[in-house]
């Protein structure tokens, strides 16, 4: 297994390299980061020239990519615009762990910019993923066991309503009902935005309260796909001979269900969850924006809007790396759950 994992990691390196080139070229053509630095009026011409030079944006795209990749501390740069490159560069490049500094938050390392947001995103996304998985398991199993019952039809309808609705609509609707209207009606209401109430401070209870609406919003639109997968795989497994054998041996219903059926039924779910997990790092762009949740999704959106290439590339490469890693983990877990799979070349 060790050789298999090592080989997969080595295969991932050229993949990441190619991804980085494609993303870099795409991002370089997104917009001009200097264009929005003038505030409410246009950036002055002399500032455009100076900032373009100081931030290294006047270099050809391949030079900028090389600097991003391996740094520019081996090269000279022209800081004062006299046409003479007199100062040494200060960047080390991502291969040496330096993702550069943000163009928007000038001077702040990209790693720091992302690290400040990542815990908030993981908090929200993991909570949401847990709610979705638990809820989907319960609903999926119940629907499979009570196939075509009135409750199954009812759940199916509700889930598909959730699946069909855009997440921004669910988010705003829930905010309007549980925050604005509930307050107007004199009922206990939930907070609208942020992570805590400034008058109370950042307490565990406050953070949990502020998580309720975004977590439920994300869960509501994700329940359907997960629960339908579980329902269909459970239906398939429950009709297998070995389940019938287990039942005829007189095993308790819970044992048949959770030990014999669910383990095999969960194999496709592992693949789906495994492929979803790396995207948790990228956050929920829409949900974080609506609920003003300070996560990486919002960070990505804010910095894309201002063409902050170092930060955007940092987030995208983090996700790309996570995808490679989680694919390997998924394969390993899959093999562990299914003895028919072996790590052979």
């Amino acid at each position: 297994m060790g050789r298999y994992i090592l080989r997969r990691f080595l295969q991932g390196i050229p993949l990441l390299f190619i991804i980085s080139i494609i993303l870099f070229v795409l991002m370089m053509n997104m917009g001009d980061p200097i264009a929005t630095m003038g505030g409410r009026t246009l950036t002055r011409p002399e500032d455009r020239l100076r900032l373009t030079r100081q931030l290294g944006l006047d270099k050809p795209i391949y030079i900028q990519y090389i600097y991003w990749l391996v740094g520019n501390d081996w090269a000279k740069v022209d800081l004062n615009g006299d046409g003479i490159a007199e100062s040494s560069g200060t960047r080390h490049g991502i291969l040496r762990g330096d993702f550069g500094t943000s163009l928007v938050n000038r001077g702040v390392p990209v790693i720091q910019v992302i690290a400040e947001r990542l815990p908030n995103t993981l908090l929200l996304m993991i909570a949401s993923e847990i709610v979705v998985i638990i809820g989907a398991l319960l609903v999926g199993i119940y629907s499979a066991l009570r196939q075509y019952s009135a409750f199954d039809h009812f759940l199916t309808a509700i889930l598909f309503v959730g699946y069909s609705m855009p997440i921004f609509f669910v988010g705003l609707l829930s905010m309007y009902i549980f925050s604005v209207l509930f307050k107007r009606w004199g009922l206990p209401y939930l907070p609208t935005v942020g992570m805590f109430d400034p008058a109370v401070g950042r307490t565990f209870g406050q953070v949990v309260l502020h998580m309720i609406l975004p977590v439920l919003t994300m869960s509501f639109v994700s329940f359907a796909s997960y629960s339908r997968y579980i329902r269909s795989t459970m239906l398939e497994v429950m009709s297998q001979d070995y389940i019938r054998t287990a039942k005829s041996k007189g095993l308790p219903r819970a044992t048949v269900l959770f030990i014999h059926a669910l383990k095999n039924a969960s194999l496709p779910i592992v693949t789906i969850v495994g492929l979803d997990l790396p995207f948790l790092l990228g956050g929920a762009v829409v949900t974080e924006r609506i609920f003003a949740w300070p996560g990486t999704g919002r960070l990505f959106l804010d910095h894309v809007a201002r063409s902050d290439l170092p930060v955007v590339m940092g987030i995208l490469m983090l996700i790309a790396f996570a995808v490679v890693v989680f694919q390997i983990i998924t394969d390993v877990v899959y093999a562990w759950l299914d003895p028919r799979i072996r790590f052979e070349a």
Partner: protein, 564 residues
């Protein structure tokens, strides 16, 4: 054995999840979940007054030299200080200086190139270190240092030297008479904090103070900035001016307009701005007060004229076509219907400045589609080929009209303008771009690919200085960053622009600005759509609130929070 443990584990997970999602089981005691009410105590403690502002953009930097972002600039009024602020009429009022320099009091030299500032007694930074002329010198030096990637080196680049004869006197030497000197020193940075950083790093780019300015000179002092979430400011105990009444300003970053409105109507914010006009009735219904304050900016149309006859539709080089466009668009109707009558139509580029700069005031071109048609007919622009669009000498009046796509009002206005210009035989193709594309050096506006460009703009507020229309600012292959995106070279306008910036006597300068104003009006070089004020939503708890367009929180110390 196994089956039991699995069952118990699943059950435990479900219980834990449900507890978490239920907000830890009744952590609250009163009708609100979000506003956890403090338990009654034996000795009543005065309630801390926390005002919550909702900003829909997060700061990029808090160092005044490193940002032009409006939300960051206005926040500087809380914790940083300027030599002078501006009142609700955008008139300068002394802050760090004893009086505003003028020719009369001798603080502006006869040649207009030297300005002397006299600092007040007792100015202190929040760490109890005196604020002196050295801080002014340091601020200027850092802003023009090529090792610092400051947001804008202008107008500091016009200063050739700063003398500090004593701790309370600052002498600014400009490279010539410089009329917009009031726009200098918008934010002072502390030399005693940042000089050591510069000495060590060789730049201020990486200074921690840029994002955590724990030492300031305003009525509040920076407490915390959590990326993407909030920033907070508490009372500066060493403030040398009037102590504020509100204990803490908590700024929450809410990027989505719909969420911003929901938060305000739910009472989760005391102050906000930058929301769509169509949300104003909802805010008023929720009890918030709407206040507008001119900023000097106007939303307007910039016509691609290109006096070199290379770019754009040749029709726009005909002043009668531009006049016809002015008369064909119902600008009052747009302001009334789309902006709810909250503002007015500007007659000139300087309309949003105080009346002093608009003397004599100009009268807008009327909305008169028939007169517009007549004017086009008289100029030879007729629909000769029957395709529904006017033409002349084989040139169709088929124009592109571009703006940014982040503003819902702009999209609506574009649609109205397209319809109204079609009614007089001018075809318009609508375009919209993200800001970082539209305003890029190689973007559609700068490279002459849009016939009518729309955005909100103004002079160097509150100063009337403009620089876009110098002939030398027309972009070329050697000078691609030029700002004259209309590719317009008018020698008379060029000369007046160069003259006004040297006229330190406001009366003389006003005459020059008036001449420029008249040229703009007569030749319709620019067409105002609406005066673009700051529109503020003020919650019911806030009292004593006034705003200024140039320095919005100039009287923040007078603001208070009351319980209603």
């Amino acid at each position: 054995m196994i089956k039991k443990s699995v069952s118990y584990t699943l059950f435990a997970i479900m219980v834990a999840a449900s507890m978490v999602l239920s907000g830890c089981g009744g952590a609250t005691t009163t009708p609100t979940i979000s506003g956890i009410t403090p338990q009654a105590s034996q000795t009543p403690v005065p309630e801390k007054k926390v005002a919550t502002f909702i900003w829909n953009e997060e700061f990029d930097s808090l160092n005044p030299l490193y940002t032009n972002m409006w939300f960051s600039t206005v926040t500087q009024q809380l914790w940083d200080c300027w030599p002078w602020n501006f009142d609700e009429n955008n008139n300068p009022i002394p802050n760090l200086v004893t009086e505003i320099p003028s020719i009369e009091n001798g603080d502006i030299s006869a040649d207009g190139a030297t300005i002397t500032l006299h600092l007040k007694d007792g100015l202190m930074w929040s760490d109890n270190v005196p604020l002196t002329s050295e801080d002014f010198h340091f601020t200027w030096a850092m802003s023009v240092d090529p090792k610092n990637t400051v947001a804008s080196s202008y107008p500091y680049s016009k200063i050739t030297g700063v003398d500090t004869p004593d701790p309370k006197t600052v002498v600014l030497h400009f490279d010539g008479p410089f009329a917009p000197w009031l726009t200098t020193f918008r934010g002072i940075i502390p030399a005693h904090i940042l000089q050591p950083v510069y000495d060590t790093d060789g730049t201020l780019d990486n200074a921690e103070w840029n994002t955590k300015p724990t030492v300031g000179c305003g009525p509040y002092v920076f407490t915390e900035w959590e990326s993407g979430s909030f920033s907070s400011f508490t009372v500066n105990q060493n403030y040398w001016g009037k102590k504020p009444k509100i204990d803490e300003i908590f700024i929450r970053f809410v990027p989505d307009n719909a969420s911003q409105i929901a938060a305000l109507t739910a009472g989760d914010g005391d102050l906000s701005t930058f929301f769509p006009y169509n949300e104003i009735p909802k805010l008023k219904t929720a009890g918030l007060t709407i206040m507008t304050e001119p900023t000097g900016l106007n939303e307007g149309m910039f016509f691609l004229i290109d006096t070199n006859n290379k770019l754009g539709n040749p029709g726009l080089r005909d002043v009668n076509v531009r006049k016809a466009i002015a008369m064909a668009i119902d600008r009052d109707g747009i302001v009334h219907d789309l902006l709810l009558g909250m503002t007015t139509v500007p007659a000139s580029y300087w309309s949003a400045l105080p009346p002093f700069w608009n003397n004599p005031p100009l009268v807008n071109y009327p909305y008169d589609p028939q007169a517009a048609k007549n004017l086009l007919d008289q100029s030879g622009w007729v629909d000769s080929n029957g395709d529904g669009t006017r033409d002349k000498n084989g040139v169709e009046l088929d124009l592109t009209y571009g703006t940014t796509n982040e503003n819902e009002t702009r999209s609506n206005v574009q649609a109205v303008v397209q319809q109204q210009l079609a009614a007089i035989g001018i075809k318009v193709e609508l375009q919209s771009y993200s800001s970082d594309t539209f305003f890029a050096q190689d973007g559609p506006a700068a490279t002459g690919k849009v016939d009518i460009m729309e955005w909100s703009d103004g002079p160097l507020v509150p100063d009337p200085d403009v620089y876009y229309w110098y002939c030398s600012e027309i972009p070329t292959a050697d000078y691609p960053s030029g700002s004259n995106w209309q590719y317009l070279c008018d020698s008379q306008l060029d000369a007046l622009s160069a003259l006004q910036i040297t006229q330190v006597d406001p009366v003389e300068r006003q005459k020059t600005i008036s001449q420029m104003n008249q040229i703009f009006y007569d030749k319709v070089y620019w067409l105002g759509l609406w005066v673009d004020p700051d529109v503020w939503a003020v919650g019911t708890r806030l009292t004593g609130v006034k705003f200024s367009g140039a320095s919005p929180f100039f009287n923040i110390s007078d603001w208070d929070l009351v319980t209603k």
